[in-house]
Assembly symmetry: C2
Homo-oligomer: 302 residues x 2
C-alpha cells in the first residue's frame, strides 16, 4: 500500500502549495482521491500512469477538491483513453462535468460512469475480490464524504515443505488456500494451519477531509492502518474551525488516538502557517505516530 500526495494544502492553489489530490495504490489499483486544480500536472510530475487510474473519489464539491476533474477527463479523452472511468462524488458532479464537456462540444470516447452520493450514513461504494471502499460521512459546509479503503483478507499461503512432509496431494491447492483441512494420501485429515501460513494482515486507509472534529467517525475507522485527517488549523485558531467547519491538528490527534489507528497523516494546511512541524507536535500530544503530508511525498506502508 503506497500513498502519493499530489497536493495537501487548503483553499487557493499556489506555486508550491497544491490543493487536495492523492493517489492510493492498493492491491494493484491506483485510486485517485480528490482532484484540485492542477492535479493532472501533478500526476505527470510524479509519474503516475494515467491509464492505471480507473476510479476517482471526490469528497466534496469545493473547488480545491474537484476543479481539476474537468481538465483531467478532457485530457484522458485527448490521450485516446479507452478504459472505463468511474467517478464517485456528491450528487451534482455529473451535471457539472457533463455541462462543461457539452459546452466544449466534447464527449469522452471512453465509458465514463458517475456514482453519485447523497446518503448521510456509510455506504459500500466499491467492491471487488481484493478491496472494498466505503464512504465515511463527514461534517463540513457542504455534503462531504471521506473514504475508507480496505484490503480483503487474502488466501492462506501454502507451506510447501510442510505439505510435502504431510504427504498432501497438491491438487487440493485451491481448497487449502481457502482454509479447509484436507485428507492426505494416507487418508488422514491434516489441519489447514499445519500446512499453510497466515495471509498478510489486510491494510486499510481512511481519508477524512474536509471535516469538523467528528468523533462519530471513530467506530468506523477503528484500527485503520493509516488515517489521513485534515488539520487546516492549529489549536490557537480553533475558533476558525467552528466557523469554516475544519479541524485542528489537536483534533486530528484525538481522533487518531480514539480510533487506535496505526499511523496518522496530517494535511490540508491553511496557508497562514510557515512551520508545519507545529502541526506534528500538536497532534503528538495525543497520538504518537504522526506523519506530515507534503506535495510529492510518497508514503509506503509495508
Amino acid at each position: 500500500m503506497n500513498l502519493t500526495i499530489l497536493g495537501c494544502h487548503a483553499a487557493t492553489p499556489k506555486i508550491s502549495a497544491h490543493p487536495t489530490a492523492q493517489v492510493l495504490e492498493m492491491k494493484g489499483h491506483l485510486f485517485l482521491i480528490d482532484c484540485g486544480e492542477g492535479t493532472q500536472v501533478q500526476l505527470r510530475k510524479y509519474k503516475v500512469k494515467f491509464s492505471r487510474v480507473k476510479h476517482i473519489f471526490i469528497s466534496h464539491l469545493h473547488g480545491d477538491h474537484f476543479f481539476g476533474l474537468p481538465g483531467l477527463i478532457s485530457t484522458f479523452h485527448l490521450m485516446g483513453r479507452e478504459a472505463e472511468m468511474h467517478i464517485y462524488g456528491p450528487k451534482g458532479i455529473k451535471e457539472a462535468i457533463l455541462l462543461l464537456l457539452k459546452l466544449g462540444k466534447s464527449r469522452t470516447k471512453f465509458p465514463l460512469y458517475f456514482h453519485e452520493l447523497e446518503a448521510t450514513s456509510t455506504q459500500l461504494i466499491y467492491e471487488d475480490e481484493k478491496v472494498t471502499v466505503e464512504t465515511i460521512p463527514l461534517i463540513h459546509r457542504v455534503y462531504t464524504n471521506g473514504f475508507l479503503f480496505k484490503e480483503k483478507l487474502g488466501d492462506r499461503k501454502l507451506n510447501i515443505e510442510a505439505a510435502k512432509e504431510a504427504n498432501i496431494d497438491l491438487s487440493y491447492y485451491n481448497k487449502i488456500k481457502s482454509g479447509f483441512d484436507v485428507e492426505n494420501q494416507d487418508g488422514k485429515l491434516i489441519p489447514n494451519a499445519q500446512i499453510t501460513f497466515d495471509p498478510p494482515t489486510p491494510k486499510s486507509y481512511a481519508f477524512c477531509s474536509d471535516t469538523v472534529y467528528s468523533p462519530k467517525m471513530v467506530p468506523q475507522i477503528s484500527n485503520t492502518t493509516v488515517l489521513y485527517h485534515e488539520s487546516t488549523f492549529l489549536n490557537v485558531h480553533q475558533e476558525l474551525c467552528v466557523k469554516t467547519k475544519h479541524s485542528t491538528a489537536k483534533e486530528a490527534g484525538m481522533i487518531a488516538k480514539d480510533a487506535q489507528v496505526g499511523t496518522l497523516i496530517l494535511g490540508h494546511y491553511s496557508g497562514r502557517y510557515n512551520n508545519l512541524e507545529l502541526f506534528r507536535s500538536e497532534a503528538k500530544e495525543f497520538f504518537d505516530n504522526v506523519l506530515l503530508a507534503e506535495d510529492g511525498k510518497v508514503f509506503q506502508f509495508k
Copy 2:
C-alpha cells in the same frame, strides 16, 4: 502596452507547457485573455496583481482556454475581493460558472457580471475613455471569438514653450488639448498645431486563437500594432489543421502579411514539436517581424 504570456500551449497542460492565458496591459487596464487550468498560479508566479484584473475575455469554451476560470473566481472570493469583475465569453459560460459555485455553496461577494456572446459578426463589447474592445469572429470547432483591443487617440499635448511664445491664456488648456484653435491675449487666432504636439499613435492588439486560417479577419485587424495568431501546427501537418480547425505558422504569417500588422506573435503550439524556431522560420517566409510566445515572457510595445 505590455503583454505577459501566462501560457501558450495547446491542449493538455504539462509541467512546463501551460494552456492559453495572457495579460494585456493597456492604458492602466490589466485585461486577462483566456484562462486555462492553472492560470491563477501563473498569475501569482509572474506577480500580476489580482485586484487589477477587472475584465476577463474568454475566446471559447474548450478546457484549455477556460478551465482555470472557476478556480480563479473562487480565489478572488476567498481573497475578499470587492471590486467588480466582468467576464466576456460564449453563451453558456454563466451557467457553467454559476453551477460550479452553487455546488460548492459558494457565492461571490464581489459583483460578477457576465457578458455572454453569441453574435457571429464583430461586436463592440467594451468601451471607456481610453480603449475599446471588439470581438473578432473566428472559425473553430466551437463558437469562438478573438478580441481586438484598441487604444483611443489621446489628447494633444501642450507645447508649453510655444504656448508662452504665442501669448496664450492657459485657462484654455482643455480646449487646446482637444485640438481647438484658440485666441491669444492679443485677440489673434492661434492654430492648434502651433502650440501642441501630436498625441502618441494609438496602439492595438489582436488576439486570434483558436482558429482555422480565416482571411475574412484581415480587414478588421488591418494595421494592428500586434497580432497574436495561433499556430498549432507546422505546414507539414496542414491536414491536421483541416481536421481540428487550427492554423499553421505559415497561415499565421500570411494573415500578418495581408493585414500589414506591426508584429506577429505566434503561440498555441501543439505538444508534438520540440523546436519552436521552426514556427518562426515558417512564418517569416511571409512576414518578417515574428516573435514566439513563451510561458512567462513579457513583451513590451513602446
